[in-house]
Homo-oligomer: 114 residues x 2
């Protein structure tokens, strides 16, 4: 997966998901997180995803979408809703999810585009 994600020209939409992990259930979390990346990538309107988690349990995942409707549809996906419930009951100490409209971007990738 490209990092940074190779998103199209703005405008498009982003979901910025910022979270702190609990120490609980590292293995179950890893399996579900990987599955959600795979499932999100197959959704209609998906444009890309970037995810980083540091050793202290702080994480930011940004997913990119063509429309608010695509974001809503992914939020209501049945398997995704099960994962969300797991997030609230055991995996996350806290999170904020922000839905954004990407207005402009600036790209620096000298090695790939010499």
């Amino acid at each position: 997966m490209d990092f940074p994600a190779r998103t199209p020209e703005p405008p498009y939409y982003a979901v910025v998901f910022t979270s702190r992990r609990t120490p609980a259930d590292a293995e179950g979390y890893a399996v579900t997180a990987e599955r959600m990346l795979e499932l999100a990538s197959g959704q209609p309107g998906f444009l890309g995803i970037e995810s980083v988690r540091a050793a202290d349990g702080h994480g930011i995942t940004v997913s990119f979408w063509d429309s608010l409707e695509s974001i809503r549809r992914w939020g209501r996906d049945a398997e995704h809703r099960l994962a969300q419930a797991g997030g609230r009951s055991k995996w996350y100490a806290a999170y904020r999810l922000r839905v954004c409209r990407v207005e402009s971007d600036r790209i620096f990738e000298p090695s790939e585009n010499p």
Copy 2:
């Protein structure tokens, strides 16, 4: 610093800065990154910041602002521009900077707000 950042009710603006580090100059980078966090926090219109970097060099920093004008002013800050030049010449293999309007949010922080 709060993580996630305690931003106000939307709408407001976010700068999502996604980057891959080179292996170069870890110490100089750390000093400058710390200084930029401090400097950004003192800018007019600053609402908060979240930053995560993983061991593989992938990083996402999201800063929050009251307006596009505040974002532009911070982008033009003289010391910040010097750091940006260092980023392009040695610290970053690639980055994307996306300017976004935050439309809505969802908050989960059970331990702080029982």
